[in-house]
């Protein structure tokens, strides 16, 4: 187990080094001059040159790279020019916001998709199978920003069921004491029920819009994988031996079918975490996606590099977690491969 962990970590190092180099080069190769942008409206060429020196952009590329790696090793990701804050603090405050939203969406999707997929496979060809097909097709063909806007329009603007889409908390509530950065957990831990409900209400619409989108791959994968397993010999044997249908489906078939679902789950999770910028824009959610896109628009190098790097590390960690999870679910993979 430990060997597996170590070998996995060792393979991750080259990819992270690669990401460091590529992000550095990419942000510099992109057209756009941050010095001209930040010099402001009435900038003279001298003012632009002054800013360029201040930002260290007048140095050669290798010099800039050495400075960048040096900072990185000391845990410094640089300063964002557009928000004026260190990138590390920004990502540390924004990542929990994205993670809370993504996890909530994923949990919701799993709670709906897996039972739906299992039912559709067990009762193949019945109405529930058709429902599953319609739901997954609809989910995958409705882009997140569209469902997000539609939900905000219907449930906030027209019906007034949902709160105003103003971010993680209503304007008149103060954020809970910082423990994990997840507002739901922090407010529950400190027993602040008003903030808890407030945060939950704000979370509902964006989480549902994202869940609808991620439902499709999960439900389809569950259905497909269950169908394959249900058609196999050992299930026929189990049925012939007179085991209860429930035992056959859940104990034997589902455990065997869940492996590809976990793979898809990992992919969906990492995709959602990086790609929820549209939902974040619609619901004014202060997450990392929105932060990275804003930084790109203003040619603000440091946050873009910090974001890509954080995401790369997260992907590596996630893949590792999924590998380990395989081992727990399926003893065959636990071999010291």
């Amino acid at each position: 187990m430990l060997n597996l962990l170590l070998s996995r970590l060792a393979t991750a190092i080259p990819s992270i080094v690669g990401v460091v180099v590529v992000t550095f080069m990419l942000t510099r190769l992109l057209p756009g001059d941050p010095a001209a942008y930040f010099a402001g409206l009435a900038a003279s060429p001298q003012a632009v040159a002054e800013i360029r020196t201040k930002l260290g952009l007048d140095k050669s590329l290798p010099e800039q790279f050495v400075a960048y790696v040096g900072d990185l090793l000391s845990g410094n990701l640089g300063n964002s020019l557009s928000t004026g804050q260190p990138v590390v603090t920004e990502i540390a405050t924004r990542l929990p916001a994205s993670a809370e939203l993504t996890l909530a969406a994923l949990l919701l999707a799993v709670f709906i998709a897996i039972p739906l997929g299992v039912l559709a496979a067990v009762k193949q060809g019945t109405w529930i199978d058709h429902v599953c097909r319609v739901v997954t097709t609809a989910g995958v063909s409705l882009p997140v920003f569209f469902t997000g806007l539609l939900f905000a329009y219907v449930f906030y603007y027209l019906l007034q069921w949902a709160p105003a889409p103003t971010g993680r908390l209503d304007v008149f509530l103060s954020p809970p004491q910082h423990i994990t950065g997840f507002y739901l957990i922090d407010s529950a831990l400190t027993g602040n029920s008003e903030t808890f409900w407030g945060a939950l209400r704000q979370l509902a619409l964006p989480a549902i819009s994202m869940a609808i989108f991620s439902l499709a791959p999960l439900a389809r994968m569950t259905r497909g994988s269950m169908l394959a397993v249900l058609g196999s010999d050992f299930i026929r044997t189990a049925r012939a031996s007179g085991l209860a249908p429930r035992t056959v489906v859940f104990t034997y078939a589902f455990r065997n079918a869940v492996l590809p679902v976990i793979t898809v789950l990992g992919m969906v999770f990492s995709f959602l975490l990086g790609a929820n910028v549209l939902v974040e824009t619609v619901f004014a959610w202060p997450g990392v996606g929105l932060y990275a896109v804003n930084a790109l628009i203003t040619s603000d190098y440091a946050p873009v590099q910090g974001f890509v790097l954080t995401m790369a590390v997260l992907y590596v960690a996630l893949n590792l977690a999924i590998d380990l999870l395989y081992g727990l679910v399926d003893p065959r993979i636990r071999l010291d491969s």
Partner: protein, 533 residues
């Protein structure tokens, strides 16, 4: 996961979503005393002197700091409050004595910074020294009023401060009232300064060392700024609003929805179409103020063929689809700058209407005279950061130019690159906007038409006659001044290196119970005059 427990959990979840809000008494109270502003972009600094401080940062600075003097107010044509650039009024200074070579300010004796330290002349000097020393935008803006060297700023005694002039410049006094020369708490800043950072630039980025009408209670970068009123403020009438929350809502559609539902109190930053529609709704107040000294225009690079030919430029000016742009791009939310009687200056106002209108026959004739009867190919560029206006505008221009044989390809430039491209000065044709803080025609012309070729002279236009008139206007007065202004306006219209399209409006939408909105030249919101309820 069992099916039954699944159904139970989702049912509980659904109930939670639709549960009614738990409105505590305190919260309802807070709502009445708080002004909620929703905006598109967040401040990036608490310090207006900081590197790359953006426009929202000016708003923070304006409301949290005092300046020595401020501007008075008047009513505009629609009966709305409008700052008055001809009237300077006391803020931290109670009176001043203007002499040919200097001005001496008497400071308020009871004014204190937020931490309780009395505000004295040495704080004023420190702050002015900082503005002219740190470089970049603040230093540049100070220079526009001939405020250039620390030696110009003299502490006479604790409550007397003198500015010595290095030349007679009529912009010196107005420049002391712009957002840049704020009065900062010098002792507090020095405590947080370091050897490499003597002006505490790093610390001031996240902290305000100020004594203005509002204090920053909470700042979550990129998300919100929460202000509370400074109840000890002495430099003006006590503001009526106790708390101000400025939240960032990136989606324009949601900003509008929040306003319409009454959840937000005020917003700038909506598309023209939304403002045009909101104007017809009885439940909101929409105020549109023409932005002083500003215009949206088509610029042509006179250093390149074929735009070096004045006949080609005039042909373009006769071919633009002015009225269509007003109707279907701006939805009427702008002041036309075309269709005047002729190309002569109509007085000391800027911007003003020129004599051009859409007349394709005339344009074709001019093209033939210029030697381009079959037209030519070119590109028209715009800033993608302002695509909601620029994109439909350039498409209309493209269609219209095609009718006189000019095939213009559209070149969209991302916001981050726009400044850099402007600096290069090699785009043949652009759609762009410019506005100057100080409302003097010669200030606009100094930036946009003068042969010094500043960034904003996007056409690289150089004309010694015009330069002489602009320079004269900066320091002249009376008849001589008027002749100079009329002279350069006439040249600008006749030579037409930039074709004025319209003067944009600064639009703001607010709830009916919000009153006291005042237009400021810096186009940011002043919370101090607003009232609610």
């Amino acid at each position: 996961m069992k099916r039954r427990s699944f159904i139970k959990t989702t049912a509980a979840g659904a109930a939670a979503v639709t549960a009614p809000a738990i409105w505590s008494e305190a919260k309802a109270q807070a709502r009445n005393e708080t002004l909620l502003i929703v905006n598109e972009s967040p401040p990036n600094s608490m310090d207006i002197h900081g590197v790359g401080a953006n426009r929202p940062a000016y708003e923070v600075s304006w409301n949290t700091h005092d300046r020595l003097i401020t501007y008075g107010a008047k009513k505009d044509a629609n009966g709305n409050d409008h700052y008055d650039y001809t009237k300077l009024e006391p803020e931290l200074a109670t009176e001043w004595d203007l002499k040919p070579n200097s001005v001496t300010f008497k400071l308020r004796r009871d004014a204190k910074f937020h931490d309780g330290t009395p505000i004295t002349a040495k704080d004023v000097k420190w702050s002015f020294d900082r503005a002219v020393t740190v470089g970049g935008f603040p230093t540049f803006q100070m220079k526009a009023g001939s405020l250039e060297k620390p030696e110009q700023f003299v502490v006479v005694d604790d409550h007397t401060f003198r500015v010595d002039f290095i030349r007679a410049d009529k912009l010196t006094m107005p420049d002391i009232g712009v957002p840049v020369p704020v009065i900062m708490n010098s002792e507090l800043c020095k405590k947080n300064a370091t050897a490499t950072d003597p002006w505490a630039m790093e610390w001031c980025k996240n902290n305000t060392a100020s004594g203005g009408a509002y204090k920053v209670e909470r700042w979550q970068p990129g998300q919100e700024v929460v202000y509370v009123r400074n109840d000890d403020w002495k430099s003006g009438p006590m503001p009526k609003i106790r708390r101000v929350v400025m939240r960032i809502i990136p989606s324009a559609g949601n900003r509008r929805a929040l306003l319409e539902r009454g959840d937000a109190d005020l917003s700038f930053d909506l598309p023209s179409k939304d403002f045009a529609e909101l104007r017809t709704m009885p439940k909101l107040t929409v105020v549109g103020t023409p932005i002083e000294n500003a215009m949206t225009y088509i610029g042509m690079n006179v250093t390149q063929k074929p735009f070096d030919n004045v006949k080609v430029r005039q042909a373009v000016a006769w071919a633009l689809p002015y009225q269509q742009i007003m109707d279907s791009v701006m939805f009427g939310q702008a002041i036309p700058l075309f269709g005047g009687a002729d190309n002569k200056s109509k007085g000391i106002v800027w911007p003003q209407k020129d004599g051009y209108k859409t007349d394709l026959a005339k344009a074709k004739a001019l093209m033939a005279e210029a030697g381009y009867p079959n037209g030519f190919e070119t590109t028209i560029s715009f800033d993608l950061g302002l695509a909601s206006t620029n994109e439909p505008l350039t498409i209309l221009v493209q269609e219209s130019l095609a009718q006189i044989g000019i095939k213009a390809a559209i070149n969209k430039i991302p916001g981050a690159n726009w400044r850099g491209e402007l600096l290069k000065k090699n785009m043949p044709m652009i759609a762009n906007s410019f506005g100057g803080w100080l409302n003097y025609p010669e200030y606009f012309f100094f930036w946009c038409y003068h042969g010094q070729n500043a960034v904003f002279n996007t056409m690289s236009y150089k004309n010694p006659t015009m330069d002489a008139l602009i320079d004269k206007a900066r320091f002249a007065s009376g008849k001589e001044y008027e002749d100079a202004v009329n002279g350069f306006v006439d040249i600008a219209f006749e030579e037409v290196p930039r074709v004025p399209l319209f003067q944009p409006l600064l639009n703001v939408a607010m709830q009916k119970n919000v009153t006291g909105y005042r237009y400021w030249f810096h186009r940011q919101l002043d919370y101090r005059q607003l009232a609610k309820g």
